[in-house]
């Protein structure tokens, strides 16, 4: 008999998390959209929603949430879409937050900074 490995992943599959949806409804979120929770999690909510709301007490980017939940960005977008539709979060693009006219550093520079940080 083959030995069973101890399962380390999650028992639930991603389609059960999204209820079978594989695409977010709108284009409200890109990778760096900042999400802020507007309400506290309710006990009847899906656990991912609860975690997102807790995480987003401080503004967090979509990719950050994705890394934190350990879920693909697509799934996170769908979940965020649900929360946005019920008004529990607000989303804003960093460019809006940074104010008009101030250019964002380009990604090559950010990468350089990242490497620099990692080498520390």
């Amino acid at each position: 008999m083959t030995r069973r490995p101890v399962e380390v992943g999650d028992p639930e599959r991603l389609y059960t998390v999204t209820g079978g949806r594989s695409r977010a409804d709108g284009d409200a979120f890109d990778l760096v959209t900042l999400i802020v929770a507007e309400s506290d999690p309710a006990p009847w909510m899906q656990s991912e929603h609860v975690r997102i709301l807790r995480l987003c007490r401080t503004p967090s980017a979509v990719v950050e949430i994705s890394a934190d939940l350990g879920m693909p960005v697509t799934v996170v977008r769908i979940l965020l879409g649900d929360l946005l539709a019920t008004g529990r979060i607000t989303a804003r693009h960093p460019q809006q937050g940074a104010g008009a006219g101030v250019p964002l550093p380009d990604s090559a520079l950010l990468e350089e900074v990242l490497h620099g940080l990692r080498r520390l």
Binding site: M1, T2, R3, R4, P5, V6, E7, V8, G9, D10, P11, E12, R13, L14, Y15, T16, V17, T18, G19, G20, S22, R23, L31, P43, W44, Q46, S47, R51, R54, L55, T58, A61, V62, V63, E64, I65, S66, A67, D68, L69, G70, P72, V73, T74, V75, L114, L117, R118
Partner: protein
Amino acid sequence: MPVPATPPQRRSHAPRPVSAAAQAALVAAAAAAGAAAVAAAPGAAGPWAAATVCAAWLCLAAAVVAGAGAVNRARRAAAASEAELRTLRARAARAAAESAQLADTALPALAARLRDGEPAARVLASLPPPQDPRLHRLLRLLAQELEDAARRTRQAADDGGRAVRQLALAADGVDRLTAVTLPAAVARLRDGSSADTVLGRLELPPDGRLRVLAEATVRELALGERRAAAAREAGARALSRVQAAVVSMLADLREMQDRHGEEVFGDLLRLDHSTSQLGLLTDRLALLMGGRASRAWNRPLPLESVLRGAAGRIAAYRRVRLHSSGTACVAGFAAEGVMHLLAELMDNAANFSPPVDEVHVYVEERTAGLVVTIEDSGLKMADAAMRRAEEAVSGRSDDLARLQGTRLGLTVVGRIASRYGLSVSFRPSSRGGTGVVVLFPPQVLSRPGGAGTGEPAPGTDVLTPEPSAPTAAGSGSGSAPARPAERAPLPAGATAAPGAGTSRAVPGPPPPAADRRVATPGGLPVRPPGRTMAAADRGRHDPGQSPPRAREAGDAGARFGAFAEGLARARPPGSPEGEARAGRGSADGAHRPQPRTADPGNTAPDPGAARAVPEPRTPGHPPAGAS
């Protein structure tokens, strides 16, 4: 002949005295008449007359004398006849008496004694022999015949008795064979004894033919059992490969879902769903064949995860509505079984309700445990169907031969329920269909914080699935909560994905002394004496003792790492930039753990934390570690 002789006898009796007196009177009268005639005769005629009278008287006298002589002779002859008659009569009386005695006394006595078994010769000798030789012969003949008849009767009775005894013995033997011997043999064979062992221990019937029959039956039964066991085992072994393939495929799919972008995500989810259904099918068959489930969990799973994991394995998962708000967790050792059981019940509910109706799953926490109700709005089950379903989930009908073709799922439910002490019952649902109520006893539950009600009873070990399951170091402990402590300190890299060890090697602050007592530096549970492994395991997961969030400590690097990681995850692999980031991401795995320590949802030392980082999971890792 005495009868005709009687009348002359009577006639000769009476005249005899009359005759003698008459003779004398006749002679005297004749003499007087002569004397008178002579006296009366004239003188001349006197002499002549005298002479004539004398002559006449003489003649008369002579005649009388002659007559008397004749009478005497006749009388003598009559007396002789009479004597003979008397003799004959006496003889006849004697003969009659003898035959009467023979008929009334001797023959019944003879018959009785012969029946009692005395030999005829002795009986005959003891009896007074009859005078009549013919009677004597008759008696002898009769005695002989009676003796023969008595002997034959005795012999027949003996034969009959012997036959009845043999029959009773044979019937007893058959009864014993069917009522005691064969059932015992079947029970022992089911327990896995070989035919020879069983025959050796069995009390075989003394009758040769029955013994041959019993031996042949036992050998045939043993052959059948062996064949069935071999088929089961072969099935289980083949299925375990399929199970391993399914698990590996699911892991691959999950990894692909992380790696690939939105354009293929829907297809990957569809594949994932099909594979999960395949997993349910193979697990069902494997459990029926006596095999094991395809997965094992060594940590308590939140009930929500369990319910969603169960729903995800059925075709109509979109129709399942979960209403769960509790924080209860299912103990690791029971999690997979519970998930399979719920999946089977949900599948059943979905299949037996209209394809547009939803299946509702409610969770209710009670003191007696946790109640999960699965309600559909299909047709009400008929009484007979409900009885059959109850029978199937009772776990009593363990025989594969009695399975109905399409009702395999409920049988598996019964097995799992009886293994973990769950109670499953059916009742009509208020929604119009059928409701299934599953009661989880406290020992299969556990609290995420390890506090209070979910404390597994000390008897938990009994409920551990497959106590004989391999617990070799390489695989970690499939159902860790009940494993002995010495199994716990395993090589860290063996249980978790590569890189996970390094992630655990960087815990935030050093754990407090209490924490060190319940977990090794590698993050594996240590069982203090007197505690169950489940309790130790829970202590290890206690979020109160987990390192504080790095984010709260203001670790900007962690956030940045998470950011980069998310980007790498989101970037489709086709784009060179994404590849570059992904490649660098794996290469820099040692730096990666920081975002994980920042993960508020996962307690840091948990091997499960590795799931936060999909990259280190090499493709096909779980089965590779498995087989």
